[in-house]
């Protein structure tokens, strides 16, 4: 039987990694791509960060955001995760025939507002319209560039044993907010997506210390997948404590109802920072001083033991492995 791409290959979990590594990285190999950080960084007179991403969210509008806000924040955050100051974005729209003009205008207005907040400009773009059924309302592709200050060197491969792991706030808000609006599942919740641009939060952290080892935003695949990526890239172990990971009661409840673990649910306005222990206190304060980092916490540390593995101390005091997401989390039967 012919091997085909499954939906699960797009989930951001292990199947997606396998696809990227065996199909794209292998064929298109170069040292910049091979680093597999959120954005590529290179020197062109100054040090630059460059990234791209596509957005295919259903529904297009959800509590706390929409596809336009998501597109800008996602790209701004990918740039910020290299320590860059995000500057310019491109936006490409793939529009399904029949999309309402009003919805498109709402998306563009939302893009304008969040780009203003993030301090980035949309400097180029493209529009395609495809037949009904060839897209789901609206897809957006973005690219972005930013500039990295002297002395900043952030990569997923820089974590060292003894480093502290900072999480900028509660996990799972975005994934559950979107699920709560999805056709066939709508449940009432006050929860809003955490979708937010984190460029200024990162700038605040760098103002305290340039010695930040890793930054990553735990989007699809959730906190668990991000920590696993960092552990694998840096060839270190990571140990976190369940009780220190902030989770909203609503997220816990929805997760229980659907059989989904908040550790694997997407976030769009959170970051994980891995920093040397002596700078951890100051950096944590800087995160908390930003409106998107008020609930930040140190959730664990980097270890020399169990390289490539993430281990969690549960609230009962026992330990267990936290693995990477495999495919999309599937709601269970009972």
């Amino acid at each position: 039987m012919e091997d085909r791409i499954l939906l699960a290959h797009g989930s951001g979990g292990r199947l997606a990694h396998e696809l990227v590594e065996t199909t794209f990285v292998k064929a298109l190999a170069n040292p910049l791509l091979a680093k597999l950080d959120d954005a590529a960084t290179f020197d062109l007179g100054g040090k630059l960060a460059f990234t791209t991403d596509s957005y295919v969210v259903s529904p297009l509008f959800f509590p706390g955001g929409d596809i336009g806000k998501l597109a800008v924040c996602g790209t701004v955050n990918d740039l910020a995760m290299t320590g860059a100051k995000p500057l310019y974005l491109s936006l490409s729209f793939i529009i399904e025939e029949g999309l309402s003009r009003r919805d498109l205008a709402r998306v563009v207005d939302s893009i304008r507002r969040v780009a203003g907040e993030a301090g980035v400009e949309i400097v180029t773009g493209d529009t395609k319209v495809v037949n009904r059924g060839s897209a789901d309302g609206l897809f957006i592709n973005t690219a972005g560039i930013g500039i990295i200050a002297e002395g900043v060197s952030i990569s997923g491969s820089n974590a060292r044993p003894g480093d502290r792991v900072i999480l900028s706030g509660t996990i799972g808000d975005h994934g559950i907010a979107v699920l709560s609006q999805r056709e066939g599942l709508s449940f009432a919740t006050r929860l809003e997506s955490d979708c937010a641009p984190l460029g200024k939060l990162v700038a605040g952290m760098l103002a305290v210390s340039r010695n930040i080892h890793c930054l990553r935003d735990p989007t699809r695949g959730g906190l668990a997948t991000t920590l696993n990526e960092l552990a694998a890239q840096s060839k270190v172990g990571i140990r976190i404590e369940e009780d220190r990971v902030p989770v909203r009661e609503e997220v816990l409840a929805a997760g229980e109802m659907l059989g989904l673990d908040p550790l694997y649910i997407a976030n769009e306005g959170k970051l994980v920072a891995i920093v040397p222990p002596e700078d951890a206190g100051g950096i944590l304060e800087a995160v908390r001083a930003n409106k998107y980092g008020k609930e930040a916490a140190i959730i664990g540390e980097v270890t020399a033991e169990h390289p490539g593995r993430v281990v969690m101390k549960t609230s009962l005091g026992t330990s267990r492995i936290v693995d990477m997401l495999v495919g999309d989390p599937l709601p269970r039967i009972c």
Partner: protein, 364 residues
């Protein structure tokens, strides 16, 4: 009251654990029937926290895992019938049948849609009057009533293109089959929580009586499990064999009479094939003749190729509690969550997936 955090409070857990430590003298092996309990036990590392006198084994309570290959093949074959839309709960998608899975059939063009309830499946049927919409009726007593209700509603609304492939299974006959086989000695049962919300405590009481084995119906939070273990230990130490309900916020002794009535109206019991346990009499739910126009078995004459079980896969033995996931030579090598060989590695409630994801060596 907060229904989640209140049942995860570490200081209460420590109290229960020290109570279990001081109570437990006799060596005992308990089976948690339900996959949801298995997940809690692994997520919180409960096995490593229990005294050495106590051993926990996982039972067959994962609906996806116990679905026979032949039945999966039938569902996959149905998905390839022109004009058919398959509607299913999410965790069925990735389960391998003999040769394919619904997820792969979907990538090849089959119309397979994940739904969260049978009401969605009914809506798809009324939105697509020229298509045949088949709902895969997988699950235990927990989900069967909602499937029965969908059949009643389809009749009420005159929806003619809605069908159910009923592969529903009943839990008490499976427990009896495991106890009858004598393959694994059990000293106590953690009875399923949400199954018991529907059927109540009485069916377990006859099991406890017939096999002289204590049972406690438990909820799904770590404190629920620890309380259930503590109650089982107390019974073992006193030589008792009663059924107790630890999950009082979810289960009444008589169950849910309305759900039972709806189930009874639409379904009748019959033999069912269980992966690992084989055919068990009176352990399945078939659609009654009175509602046969909704029965996918009758509406579509599907004869899939003979089923084959994956070579070397120990899911069957693992579901019976005879073998542990780590005993399987495929575990973690040929069989991983991204490339599952057997169903126990697919479902989030399967023992192999729980071992793999939460670390059998650490968490077990």
């Amino acid at each position: 009251m907060k229904f989640i955090t209140e049942f995860r409070r570490p200081e209460l857990a420590r109290g229960l654990l020290s109570q279990i430590q001081s109570q437990s003298r006799t060596k005992a092996r308990f089976m948690e029937f339900c996959g949801g309990h298995t997940v809690t036990i692994f997520r919180y590392g409960i096995r490593q926290a229990l005294p050495r006198t106590l051993e926990m084994v996982s039972g067959p309570g994962c609906p996806v895992c116990v679905t026979a290959s032949a039945d999966l093949d039938k569902a996959i074959a149905l998905s390839r019938v022109p004009g058919v839309i398959i509607t299913t709960f999410g965790d069925m998608l990735r389960v391998p049948g003999s040769r394919s899975s619904l997820e792969k059939a979907k990538a090849e063009g089959a119309d397979v849609r994940m739904v969260y309830s049978t009401i969605d499946a009914l809506r798809i049927a009324s939105d697509n009057p020229d298509r045949s919409v088949v709902f895969l009726g997988i699950g235990f007593e927990t989900t069967a009533p909602t499937v029965a209700a969908s059949v009643l509603r389809a009749r009420e609304r005159g929806i003619k293109n809605y069908y159910v492939l009923s592969l529903h299974k009943l839990c008490p006959p499976a427990i009896r089959a495991i106890l009858d086989s004598g393959e694994v000695r059990l000293d106590g049962l953690i009875c399923p929580g949400h199954v018991s919300t529907v059927i109540g405590a009485h069916p377990w009481e006859s099991v406890a009586h017939d096999y002289h084995i204590p049972g406690v119906i438990s909820g799904f939070e770590p404190l629920d499990i620890l309380q259930a273990v503590s109650m089982l230990v107390a019974q073992v130490e006193r030589g008792e064999a009663r059924v107790e309900i630890a999950y009082r916020r979810g289960v009444r002794p008589e169950g849910n009479p309305e759900a039972l009535r709806v189930m009874e109206r639409v379904f009748e019991t019959g033999p069912a094939r269980w992966r690992g346990l084989g055919e068990i009499a009176e352990s399945g739910l078939k659609i009654r003749g009175e509602y046969q126009e909704f029965d996918a078995e009758r509406a579509f004459n599907i004869v899939p190729e003979p089923a084959r079980e994956p070579e070397g896969c120990l899911c069957g033995e693992i579901l019976r509690g005879v073998k542990m996931p780590l005993d399987c030579s495929l575990f973690g090598k040929a069989c991983t969550p991204e490339h599952p060989v057997g169903p126990c590695m697919v479902s989030s409630e399967g023992s192999c997936a729980a071992y793999y994801l939460y670390g059998g060596s650490l968490g077990g």
